[in-house]
């Protein structure tokens, strides 16, 4: 009799643990199954490609955000950096005589490099302010959110930078064997991030610096350097995302990327990375970003008003954090 109850308790504990560990993945699979039955077009090759393409930009931002959040930080500036990198690189790749800088269009690779540099520079400034001057990340990156948007408007004179060259647009509209370039880039970023966080020394330092910064410092990790690096990564990826966005829409808009930081943070949090640092995986972030995109896509396919999408996303975020809290209580 006692053995029986013990066995039951074990089974229940295992089920709980399973739900907590794979809850988000299960939610994603469940939503996909429901949508497959609800709409005949959901599980088609073209739609899957669409979902992945619609995940790519937020996914890239969210991967950068994962690094930052793992160190107990936050990067609120990514949406503005998207716009800044977009207009700067686009101004090198436009055929428009008025919107471009002298001598444009330059080769696409040069323009892309410039955008990446802009993103890295913005991230570096964030990182220095956070790590060296001890300004809370929330405040430092809030400042960058405003400053980078202002710089975007100043640089572009508030106007869009149109008429981008085909070479530049390739990263947004091209494909490799039918897989759209944004997805290819997203996949590359994901696998590199996966390797860095799980295999490299730097990855272990990120977890250590976030989990227990004091212990990390004592054990000889340069926590300031790690913090600087995660903002540089987040900024660089925001620059990359901004250029993909410009290439997709065909022109770099000064209003691009507004509120993108919120979706990126949502993907990270839904994916199970703890805001208190040290715990989380990019695979979780990938699933979180996919879940957001699948829900949006499914509701669009079924003709549901977009306002519901926002309500559902809000519910997902809170549910994910509640799950995270429950896990902490158990551990």
């Amino acid at each position: 009799m006692t053995a029986q109850t013990d066995k039951q308790r074990d089974a229940r504990a295992m089920a709980t643990e399973f739900a907590q560990k794979y809850g988000i993945l299960l939610a994603l699979v469940l939503v996909c199954v429901i949508l497959t039955f609800a709409n005949e077009y959901f599980l088609t090759g073209r739609n899957i490609i669409n979902v992945l393409r619609q995940t790519a930009i937020n996914g890239i931002l969210a991967i950068g955000m994962t690094f930052v959040i793992l160190t107990r930080g936050i990067d609120l500036s990514v949406g503005s950096v998207v716009a800044l990198a977009g207009v700067v690189s686009a101004s090198l790749a436009t055929t428009s005589t008025t919107a471009g800088i002298a001598g444009a269009p330059y080769p696409a690779l040069l323009a892309l490099f410039a955008g990446l540099i802009v993103g890295v520079a913005a991230g570096w400034v964030n990182g220095i302010i956070v790590s060296r001057y001890r300004v809370p990340a929330f405040v430092a990156t809030l400042g960058m959110l405003s400053a980078a948007r202002g710089l975007t408007l100043l640089y572009a004179g508030g106007k869009p930078v149109p008429a981008l060259t085909d070479g530049y647009r390739y990263i947004g509209t091209g494909d490799i064997l039918g897989v759209p370039m944004p997805v290819v880039i997203f996949a590359a970023v994901f696998f590199v991030a996966l390797w860095v966080l799980s295999q490299s020394r730097f990855g272990r330092q990120v977890y250590a610096a976030g989990g227990n910064p004091h212990a990390a410092r004592v054990s000889g990790i340069n926590v300031n350097r790690v913090k600087l690096m995660v903002y540089v990564i987040s900024g660089g990826l925001a620059g990359l995302a901004g250029m993909i966005l410009a290439a997709r829409t065909g022109s770099a808009l000064t209003q691009a990327g507004i509120a993108y930081e919120l979706d990126a943070i949502a993907a990270v949090v839904i994916g199970g990375t703890s805001l208190s640092g040290g715990v989380g995986k990019v695979t979780g972030t990938l699933i979180g970003a996919l879940l957001i995109a699948v829900v949006n896509n499914g509701l669009d396919l079924m003709g549901v008003e977009s306002y519901y999408q926002q309500v559902i996303k809000g519910g997902l975020i809170v549910a994910a954090v509640m799950l995270d809290q429950a896990r902490h209580k158990q551990g």
Binding site: Y41, R46, P160, P162, T173, T254, D300, G303, S306
Partner: protein
């Protein structure tokens, strides 16, 4: 920077004590909802290029409302304190703007609406374009292209904004004339190109080969739809696509044969409102803007009308080059 310098020189000139100069030159403030997008920049540039401003007959300051009704109200308070002679108002919100107009009216300063309506009967006059008309024109174009039969989608502005409400009313007026046309999807993309692109990608999946016409309530969203069509490997020429506003990218798309657009003449809305504002301060003033000659359908009528409707101009292959020239 240049603007700041200008303001500083103006301030110094007044401080220098030429009292006559300060009294004779009317000070007119323009409170606009925000300067982040191309349309309002064209509007503001037209204001500063008005002949009366260039000749120094009037001093104009543009206030950036930063998309916030409260900021705009505070700017009204500033203008009232500084003794502006007249105010040109482009409100962010049709309702919230009424309080600001009330403040100016209480201070005895005439307010002229431009581009966007405000729910107040205290405006001295309003210069704008009828959004119902543009909504009708763009939908009519799409319906004519598809021969008044088949399926269309409507990509709307932010639900509840006056332009969205009125353009939809115009869309529906045209649709009522084609009972065989079915609206298979209708949803907001918040004036955003990126949002419209995602929406259209998903709609093309949900209705493969069924959508013939795309009605975008502004150019940005129509441009997003075009990118979605291209991304799906479909032919843009198989769709009838229209937008409103005549932003530069849309002019380029019209030139490429991808869409139709209807130009909203923000420059005329700005200059017309300024002529009226100067007239209110100097009763013997004659309008100096070239727009009154350009639009015979909008007579000056001694500056006494309460409402001036700037006509819409369909962008065609015939006039697109000339319009692009103006943007240089």
């Amino acid at each position: 920077m240049i603007k700041a310098l200008k303001t500083m020189t103006a301030a110094t000139a007044i401080l220098a004590g030429t009292a006559a100069f300060a009294a004779d030159t009317p000070k007119i403030g323009a409170a606009v909802y925000g300067l982040n997008a191309e349309f309002m920049q064209i509007w503001a540039a037209a204001l500063e290029n008005h002949p009366a401003v260039k000749e120094g007959k009037v001093e104009v300051t543009v206030f950036d409302g930063r998309y916030d009704a409260l900021v705009q109200q505070e700017q009204f308070e500033t203008m009232i304190t500084q003794g502006y002679d007249a105010i040109i108002f482009v409100p962010i919100d049709i309702e919230a703007g009424a309080t600001a107009v009330q403040l100016a009216a209480d201070a005895g300063i005439p307010v002229f609406g431009s581009n966007t309506r405000v729910n107040s009967d205290l405006l001295t006059a309003y210069v704008g374009s009828d959004d119902v008309q543009s909504g009708y024109m763009e939908a009519k174009y799409v319906l004519d292209q598809i021969g008044c039969t088949g399926n269309v989608v409507i990509i709307e502005g932010p639900i509840g904004q006056s332009a969205q409400i009125q353009r939809l009313e115009g869309n529906q007026k045209a649709l009522a004339e084609c009972p065989d046309v079915k609206v298979v999807e209708q949803q907001t993309a918040n004036w955003s190109r990126a949002e419209a692109q995602t929406l259209m990608e998903n709609w093309l999946t949900a209705h493969p080969g069924e959508i013939a016409g795309i009605i975008g309530q502004n150019d940005e969203m129509a441009l997003g739809a075009i990118e979605a069509v291209k991304a799906a490997g479909l032919n843009v020429s198989d769709f009838a696509i229209a937008g409103i506003d005549g932003v530069t990218d849309a002019l380029l798309a019209v030139k490429a044969g991808d869409m139709a657009s209807i130009l909203q003449d923000g420059a005329a809305q700005a200059q017309g409102a300024l002529d009226l504002a100067i007239k209110a301060v100097q009763p013997d003033y004659e309008p100096m803007s070239p727009i009154w000659e350009a639009y015979p359908d909008m007579p000056w009528n001694g500056g006494a009308d309460a409402e001036y409707s700037v006509p819409w101009t369909p962008v065609t292959l015939d006039n697109v080059d000339a319009l692009l020239e103006l943007r240089q």
